[in-house]
């Protein structure tokens, strides 16, 4: 009895998690505009492809994600290395604080900071503020992933490198960095995905020239069911899903 119930239970959990997504995917291939199946079609994908505003938003999102990922990965990796070297437990622990802070609060805080700073600098909200905001929350993710990798590392490895004639910089570059590479790559992929799909913080600190894909999707969805939204969502789901899988595999290696 139990052996039959268990697969059923697992199946229902997965259904609960994924059926809405499957429905979304299915209707992106529906030839009708409404939630009534009329036939298979790529019409909404074509519409998506030809939408210039959508292309611009995608471009913005990619640009922001790449820029913030590069900065957050570099800064976060070095910070993780520093925390590990100094064995700073309290500082490492406080990282969790920035992970559990509600996004809306982080967003409001960043907005307040930017507005305060703008009193002194002649600047406005725009791509740069979005990138800065994304760097802020991505760093915590990068730190956590890289720290996890460092925790399993033997501190004697760098000492062995120094012992054999390497300088501190060479020990880091030739021993620690190669050892951390899978962790850093996984951290970068994670940073990229959290940046790419962020809505709450982005919408607060974005300017007129920096509408991102999630912001645009949100606006479109608010105006009612739109199969183009379903089509974009499907593409994003597949792409991010692949990235997350890649990140998992890297973390394991």
């Amino acid at each position: 009895m139990r052996q039959r119930l268990l697969p059923l239970y697992v199946l229902s959990v997965y259904a609960f998690l994924h059926v809405p997504l499957l429905i979304l995917c299915a209707f992106s291939f529906n030839s009708s505009r409404f939630t009534l199946w009329e036939g298979f079609s790529f019409v909404w994908y074509r519409a998506m492809w030809n939408d210039a505003a959508l292309a611009e938003a995608t471009w913005n999102s990619l640009l922001i994600a790449v820029a913030s990922t590069v900065i957050a990965t570099a800064v976060g990796t070095l910070a993780a290395y520093g925390l590990w070297k100094k064995n700073a437990r309290l500082l490492s622990g406080s990282l969790y604080l920035s992970l559990v802070t509600p996004e809306i609060i982080t967003g409001i805080a960043l907005l307040a900071t930017f507005q305060w700073a703008f009193r002194y600098f002649h600047l406005q909200l725009g791509m740069h503020t979005v990138i800065l905001a994304h760097v802020t929350f991505s760093i915590a993710y990068v730190l956590l992933v890289v720290m996890a990798r460092l925790r399993t590392a033997d501190p004697a490895l760098e000492e062995a490198a120094l012992d054999l004639g390497a300088t501190e910089w060479q020990a880091f570059r030739l021993v620690t960095l190669p050892m951390l590479r899978p962790g850093i790559a996984a951290a970068a992929l994670l940073a990229f995905t959290v940046s790419f799909d962020d809505y709450v913080i982005t919408s607060l600190v974005a300017g007129v020239d920096s509408e991102t894909l999630p912001m645009m999707l949100y606006a479109m969805a608010r105006r009612g069911a739109n199969p183009v939204v379903s089509a974009i969502s499907t593409v994003i789901l597949v792409a991010l899903g692949a990235l997350i899988l890649a990140s998992e595999r890297l973390q394991k290696s």
Binding site: A156, E159, A160, L162, D163, L164, G165, A166, T167, P178
Partner: protein, 319 residues
């Protein structure tokens, strides 16, 4: 090249003093052991010689040149780490080449080859550490540290990660290797058997201080303190006098003159393979253990016996 000398070395950790005024000289070409229980400060001493920690006070000199303040890569000293610290992303050959490449040694390739040959790892040159056995890793670490031709090799419990059988075999190999290449080995261990069987000289450490320096024979047979006597092996204590179980005899009849004898009652008799261990108790309450060869009689619990030893075998160490 030259002797290593430590002069009044002190090192404090936040909670306590780890190294408490150590002075010693290690002659060039010597196989020297620092022996002591965990936490006695031997690893910290080694780390100060390697340059990973700096002494709070005192000087470290090698061949008359002061090492204090030099970074590890500026010292003609290399280390075999406890867990070997092999670079996991490099093969055995690449691990061994690491030090030579830092020096841009033009003969790196041939030296790596010779080092692999020295530790009999030529067939495993392209293996990653994860693909090697414990013994192979140990030999790689040894080759990696020796190939840069240090004046002094530090070994931090290099055999402790191996299983007992392999440990004895590697012990012989290590001793042979040191005799062949002739550089100074400073060996850190908590295993008295290892120290006794390998060393030319042993320094016994306890609570950050040196208890005794001497040859294995001196340390074992003429310990300077009760701690040294007890750390090197079991001791029967009778008042201020100690005697090793293997020097203790047991018989049913009283021995002749020239021996110190006590009457005792047998508590237990255990067959240990290479000997028989008889545990007795004297009327005064002292436990006396005698390790005797087989065939020197059988003893059962409750038997009345005489335990005795030659006064030459006594160690007089007041409490």
């Amino acid at each position: 090249m030259g002797d290593l000398s430590l002069d009044a070395i002190y090192k404090d950790f936040p909670s306590h003093r780890v190294v408490d005024g150590i002075s010693l000289t290690i002659p060039q070409g010597c196989f020297y052991s620092l022996l002591g229980p965990s936490g006695c400060g031997k690893t910290t001493t080694l780390r100060m010689i390697g340059g990973f920690d700096e002494p709070d006070r005192g000087t470290i000199q090698l061949g008359g040149r002061t090492l204090n303040g030099l970074r590890p890569y500026q010292r003609p000293v290399t280390t075999v780490f406890q867990n070997y610290a092999l670079f996991p992303h490099l093969t055995a050959a690449e691990n061994i080449a690491f030090g030579l490449e830092r020096k841009r040694d033009p003969d790196a390739a041939s030296k790596v080859k010779a080092a692999l040959d020295l530790v009999q790892l030529t067939a495993k040159a392209d293996r990653l550490p994860a693909q090697m056995s414990g013994g192979e890793r140990q030999r790689t670490a040894l080759a990696r540290a020796l190939v840069v031709e240090p004046e002094l090799l530090l070994l931090d419990e290099p055999l402790s990660a191996l299983d007992p059988k392999l440990r004895k075999q590697m012990r012989l190999e290590l001793k042979e290797l040191q005799a062949r290449i002739g550089i100074t080995f400073l060996f850190i261990t908590h295993d008295q058997e290892e120290a006794l069987s390998l060393s030319d000289q042993i320094a016994v450490m306890h609570k950050g201080r040196l208890e005794q320096i001497g040859t294995p024979q001196q340390i074992y047979l003429q310990p300077a303190t009760r701690f040294v006597a007890g750390f090197l092996g079991p001791v029967n204590w009778v008042g201020d006098v100690g005697v090793r179980p293997e020097a203790t005899r047991i018989s049913r009849e009283a021995p002749g003159p020239g021996a110190r004898a006590l009457e005792a009652t047998v508590n237990s008799s255990i067959f240990l393979g290479d000997c028989l261990q008889v545990e007795t108790r004297t009327p005064a309450g002292d436990h006396i253990i005698a390790q005797i060869a087989h065939g020197l009689g059988e003893f059962r619990r409750g038997d009345h016996v005489h335990v005795w030893w030659r006064t030459d075998d006594e160690m007089a160490l007041p409490q």
